[in-house]
Symmetry: C2
Subunit: 299 residues, 2 copies
Amino acid sequence: MSQIERVAIVGGNHGNELTGVHVVKKFQQYPNLINRASFETLALLGNLKAIEEGKRYIEKDLNRCFTNQGLQNSQLLSYEDMRAKAIQQILQPQNQPFVDVIVDLHSTTANMGLSLIFCDMHPFLLRLGAYLSSINPLVKVFINQESKENGFLRSLCELGFVIEVGAVAQNVLNAKLFQETEQLIYAVLDYFERCNQGNIPQTSNHLTLYKYIQTIDYPRSDAYGGLRLHGEIQAMIHPQLQFRDYEPLHPGDPMFLTFEGKDIFYEGASTVYPIFINEAAYYEKGIAMYLSQKQEEIV
Amino acid sequence: MSQIERVAIVGGNHGNELTGVHVVKKFQQYPNLINRASFETLALLGNLKAIEEGKRYIEKDLNRCFTNQGLQNSQLLSYEDMRAKAIQQILQPQNQPFVDVIVDLHSTTANMGLSLIFCDMHPFLLRLGAYLSSINPLVKVFINQESKENGFLRSLCELGFVIEVGAVAQNVLNAKLFQETEQLIYAVLDYFERCNQGNIPQTSNHLTLYKYIQTIDYPRSDAYGGLRLHGEIQAMIHPQLQFRDYEPLHPGDPMFLTFEGKDIFYEGASTVYPIFINEAAYYEKGIAMYLSQKQEEIV
């Protein structure tokens, strides 16, 4: 592994996720907090207009605009398409690698604790995950290999990843999560500093990770007309599943509760680990939760 | 007290408060759930367009549009001004009293449990509050007498009140709160039915209520330019206060935590009871919490 020379920390990729917005504003005000001797750190706000308006996005989800095709298409003129190109110019001037790491800060209404989301099983990231989860049990590692072509900001860079914190409502600051996120970022930066010094911290070579299987939608009525992508939801996350992210869901466990009060059970063949349970922004995407499988790795 | 002849239940006065929206949709689908022998019940959705878009409102807060002046002003043409007039036509055709009770369903990111919000100390409402809080300890009664001229929907009717449930994120359904809200509404309707039968339920003549004192804003920088009403926030709700609605806040207790990690303390002279702590929609209104005083009443 060569040296890390530049790290980018991005907050407010979604404008109503205030933790990342205010962590980045703090770093912009006090850059010495994120400076390290062996590398440079940029702190950057993502969707400026959506942050101003307290929305996830203005016209489309900025964190789906970073596809090669979209970034090269001069016909795409929505605010988010333009902003994606501007962010790419900062992080990859002249389309050349410039930052070595992107840390993309998100928050969620699901009880995700402090989650690291990786696009693949890159050994450097897995070792980072093993280290961070060994020093803080709130840290969980989720691997979503399906996400490579989805236009996520983190895909701009081999070592791009998401820090996803929750549960916290949209447009709300939770002081405890703010401080935990901040401390996690310092731990990440200190880890890079020690890697650059050839002194890689390794408290554990063991990593528990959660791997993407599929998404599950809410039970819905048939979609009607051309106006809606999805039909109306017919059930809610079951009270016994709510806030139970990363806990086992066994075949036959209750999963949803209809508005009439009827339980709907998980009918899969094997135990899975739901995450992103009841994320507000995913209702419109047709996602009630992600299912993952738990896996132990030696890194 | 004369007979109650018509009750209106309104959900989605704010479009991103899903509990009320789906409780009302259920009642519209199964009207027998809210029918009682001695009175009629209407179930009505408030801000239709905002519900469709998952927003609190489109142009302005619908629940501030029910002023006499606004309702009579034919120059006001925003979606919410028009919708307020349409709702008034349903609830007060020909400007005559038609419904005797309005139950306005809201949800909040603050930990308000099942709160009843009254505009005044109407004896009928106080007895209702005493009854409901005696059968369910999650029920709290907040009196906000300042709110009469604010254009709230509930002000259309002498016996108008709000049911405010939380903590729940905007645009999220929490099944437990959904069911608790539904059960509370049935208890309200059953209470009216027994009043009409001359058989007023009274398990307790004692009521603990919380009376409005003032709102408290976040510590902020100076507002800049003409674009923003409020400056940028400089601190968050203190972790020791978060989710502690209706609990005592004593002089000297921590109230906010700055982004730099400094505690800010409550400097009032006497113990107060904060509510609506960290409600997402109130950041833009310059409200970090309401302060209330606790009071015991014999009703």
